[in-house]
């Protein structure tokens, strides 16, 4: 049995994660203590992240469209299925009867209506996209791609074993004979040249870039990112390229090997230090209320301020 029932953790060293996705790598790089709460202890803040929920639904709706299109459905019909997904996925069923309630968001930019609007507008804008989905060697369309592979990064505490990298990509696309991986993001911020500068470097995009070349064994030229600026009354889109040279890919991978070695060290010691320079990032860490308590009483606050929720990179989509 893996640690806490999480299949991404080692059987031999209970608190050692051996399979990593961009989310867990990101938590660890950001703050080992945050990583401990989220991954090792399987806790999440009580308050739902509207941005996470919106992003997951947005991805899934467009994935639904890609899925139907790749199976031969025309644009209009596939668009209706994406809209149906938006309506259906954003309600909570109450009990076993017909009762339900909608997903409630107090964010004027990210709610049920702006989700449906953003999906419809995206599909209107890119209805006749020049980017075509790649057909994989096994004949299947390269959409909804989950990947998992053994690296050559050794696990210091486990003789002869290496770490696994895993994740989930939206699509591999082709244009003018070149292949790209495509991902989608939403933001409330205005779209400009800085929008794409934020992704160089970027842990998630670097993992996708590195993995695309490893897993599908196709020469991936670049990444393409479709970013949606979601406002209360509009959604704007902008498409940009993410470029990594072979040397940049190698650098990211070497850096990762150092981080994973450090993660193995912390797991062995059973201690993940706090990075108090990250507490104010991204509007404030959701664990800040917990970390602000004294270490002698923090365990008692854990249940009050967080809920149990296991994040298993080998089972769930871990990034948006």
């Amino acid at each position: 049995m893996n640690f806490q029932g999480n299949s991404s953790f080692s059987d031999a060293t209970p608190m050692l994660q051996t399979a990593w996705d961009s989310t867990s790598i990101g938590y660890f790089k950001e703050c080992p203590r945050k990583y401990q709460y989220m991954m090792v202890l399987g806790r999440q803040p009580r308050e739902e992240s509207v941005h996470l929920t919106f992003g997951l639904h947005y991805h899934k709706a467009l994935e639904t469209y890609d899925h139907y299109r790749s199976r031969g459905m025309d644009h209009s019909e596939a668009q209706l299925e994406a809209v149906r997904y938006c309506y259906t996925a954003t309600v909570v069923r109450l009990g076993t009867g017909k009762a339900w309630r909608p997903w409630i968001s107090d964010d004027p930019n990210k709610n049920r209506f702006t989700l449906v609007r953003s999906v419809v507008w995206y599909l209107e804008q890119f209805a006749e996209d020049a980017l075509k989905t790649v057909q994989l060697a096994n004949g299947k369309p390269a959409v909804e791609l989950s990947f998992r592979y053994q690296t050559d990064i050794p696990i210091p505490t486990q003789q002869g074993e290496t770490f696994v990298l895993c994740g989930h990509l939206d699509r591999l696309v082709e244009s003018d004979g070149d292949i790209y991986f495509l991902d989608r993001k939403t933001t409330k911020h205005q779209l400009n040249t800085d929008t794409f500068a934020k992704y160089a470097p970027d842990n998630q995009m670097s993992l996708y870039d590195f993995s695309s070349t490893v897993v599908w064994q196709v020469p991936v030229k670049d990444g393409i990112l479709d970013v949606a600026q979601v406002g209360a009354t509009f959604t704007r889109f902008r498409r940009g390229f993410l470029h990594r040279t072979p040397a940049m890919r190698e650098e990211w991978y070497v850096d990762l090997s150092y981080y994973l070695s450090q993660a193995a060290f912390f797991a062995e010691k059973g201690y993940w230090p706090m990075n108090d320079k990250s507490c104010g990032n991204y509007g404030g860490c959701p664990f800040r209320p917990l970390c602000s308590k004294g270490p002698e009483v923090r365990a008692q606050w854990l249940n009050a301020l967080t809920v149990a929720k296991t994040w298993d990179p080998l089972r769930v989509r871990g990034d948006i």
Partner: protein
């Protein structure tokens, strides 16, 4: 492809002002009971809302900038090639 003249000369339609309220009955409906017509109505409303937004957005003149309608054409031109993409 919708050309610029068609957009700019389009008669005003009640659908142009699609707001959340205009689809309120659909958002209040159990999603399991939504019909294909309901979904088509959603797309139709939002498509018109998008065209209105693009028209109004194009009409906005940034301070100190010369008025141009190019963004509307670019945004509605669904046939793009890789050379048309923004490379940042």
């Amino acid at each position: 492809m919708t050309d610029l003249a068609t957009i700019l000369n389009a008669p005003t339609s009640p659908l142009d002002e699609a707001r959340p309220e205009s689809l309120e009955d659909l958002f209040n409906k159990d999603p399991l009971d939504l019909t294909k017509q309901d979904l088509e109505r959603t797309v139709s409303y939002l498509r018109h809302a998008r065209e209105t937004f693009l028209r109004e957005d194009a009409a906005k003149v940034p301070r100190g900038a010369k008025k141009t309608l190019t963004p509307v054409k670019v945004a509605l031109d669904k046939t793009v090639t890789v050379n048309d993409l923004d490379i940042d």
